[in-house]
Amino acid sequence: MDSIQLIRDFLTERTQTDPNRVTPEARLDALGIDSFTLLELIFEFEERCGVSIPTDTQTPDTVQDLLDMVERFCNRTESRAR
């Protein structure tokens, strides 16, 4: 899964954000991702990976934080599946 592309697609669709602004170092709030939009994004990732990211997981501040979080939980499932 190309996680950063998923974020770009989601933001283009939901908030009409310029995809070029979605870089790893970009802050989520600067991209217009509020706490509710973040819930929707996390839900998208969960659906794609078939996992449930625990609610006590540290809230990501940047795109990289979000990518790391997705990487951690999605890869865990993929390795389990193997």
């Binding site: 669709e13 939901r14 908030t15 009409q16 509710f36 929707e40 839900f43 449930s52």
Partner: protein
């Protein structure tokens, strides 16, 4: 503080005919029905009944796509009607309107999203729901979206009073302006009741009018000797209520004046309407308006075309209007736009305002043979124009015994 006068300065709706509010009203005058036959392929038992649907409704050109994705259909319908009313009133889109609020009616709120969620969870093997489910489903979603879109900082109110929801919303909004609590209130209602479970539930009440492709258009026949019940409708309508001086000062076009609101509770039965409760609401509206019964030139009746409801309403009118009743023009426009549940009071208030503004009374369609139990008022079966209409009432009598009557007056600058 003296009660303030309340002007109606804007109207908006989602018309089941697909056109403008003016087009809708002209069709009402012409006795044209929006009822069509509705069939679904739900398994194992699809729906087949007369209904009113806004099939040409296209919200994407009025609501930004990111917002649209967070709204159930009832909120989308409501938002489009509200924006239209606001623009019609000539009010600016501003980020902050601290003296303007919204009062909205809905009976069912986001029922469609709940129904979809149940299907996904129970039938489609889904384990969880998207985070938008809560905000789509909540009953105050429409008013909240309207408030955000127009920066309405005064109040964001939602009324769920079954079939009187929108009438109550308009009445309570009227009071807020009258008593100086707000300068402008955007008031109305929206509902999208054609959910599978909702239709089945209404069928169980044995009050839905039957009909097929050929006959659906005349399925809803209020006051008719052979009436068979109501027709479920989706829809939305909104009115801009405004402090009279505020409206005059900004040179707004005043469409009519709202002068009274009567509310009462039957306190007798959940579904059987009670004449005495209706009488109290009618009298309160007249008293507040300062109208003698003979001043009223038109009543837009609740008239749902149920066996019990229609005669009860006529009895109440006869009690209140006495000897005047036989001269009282009455029509039930649900015969054409159906019963939009929590939105219907707003649709009918909009019709009543336009009737006053254009001095044109719409008919009850398909009223061939008047039920003797519904006789005693002047049933309007063809549009009446140029009668010098100057004052009118609009009634909503809901399950639960909740009654609301709105009183309007033609625009008079004095």
């Amino acid at each position: 503080m003296m009660p303030r006068r309340v002007a109606i300065t804007g109207l908006g709706m989602v018309s089941p005919f697909g056109g403008s509010t003016q087009d809708f009203f002209q069709r009402m005058l012409a006795g044209e029905s929006a009822v069509t036959h509705y069939e679904t392929d739900d398994k194992p038992h699809g729906l087949s009944l007369p209904a009113v649907r806004c099939t040409q409704f296209e919200p994407t050109d009025r609501i930004p796509r990111p917002v649209l994705g967070t709204m159930d259909r009832f909120a989308q319908l409501g938002m489009v009607a509200a924006l239209e009313a606001w623009d019609h009133a000539g009010l600016a889109r501003s980020a902050d309107n601290p003296a303007a609020g919204v009062a909205w009616g809905t009976a069912l709120g986001g029922t469609l999203v709940f129904e979809k969620s149940y299907r996904d969870l129970w039938l489609n093997g889904q384990e969880r729901l998207p985070p938008t489910a809560v905000i789509k489903g909540m009953n105050n979603a429409a008013s909240a979206h309207i408030g955000i879109a127009l920066g309405l900082g005064n109040s964001c109110l939602t009324y769920t009073v079954a079939c009187a929801s929108a009438a109550v919303a308009i009445g309570e909004a009227f009071h807020r302006i009258r008593h100086g609590d707000a300068d402008i209130m955007l008031a109305g209602g929206s509902d999208a009741p054609l959910a599978y479970g909702v239709v089945r539930a209404w069928e169980a009440m044995r009050v839905l009018a039957p009909g097929d492709v050929e006959t659906a258009y005349r399925a809803c026949r209020p006051f008719h000797a052979e009436r068979r019940g109501l027709v479920l409708a989706e829809g939305a309508a909104a009115l801009v209520l405004e402090d009279w001086d505020h409206a005059m000062a900004r040179g707004a076009a005043i469409l009519a004046e709202m002068v009274g609101y009567g509310a009462s509770c039957d306190h007798t039965h959940l579904v059987r309407p009670e004449e005495h409760g209706q009488v109290r609401a009618l009298r309160q509206a007249l008293d507040q308006a300062g109208f003698a019964p003979e001043a009223i030139g038109y009543v837009n009746a609740h008239g749902t075309a149920t066996r019990e409801g229609d005669p009860t309403e006529i009895r109440a009118l006869k009690t209140v209007f006495g000897a005047q009743a036989e001269h009282l023009a009455v029509s039930a426009t649900k015969s054409m736009h159906g019963h939009a549940m929590g939105a219907t009071g707003a649709i009918e208030a909009l019709i009543t305002v336009l009737a006053l503004q254009q001095d044109a009374i719409p008919p009850t369609a398909h009223l061939g043979i008047i039920d003797p139990l519904c006789a005693g008022v002047r049933h309007i079966t063809h549009a009446q124009r140029g009668t010098g209409l100057s004052a009118a009432l609009c009634s909503a009598f809901a399950f639960g015994g909740s009654n609301a009557v709105l009183a309007f007056k033609a625009f008079n600058p004095v």
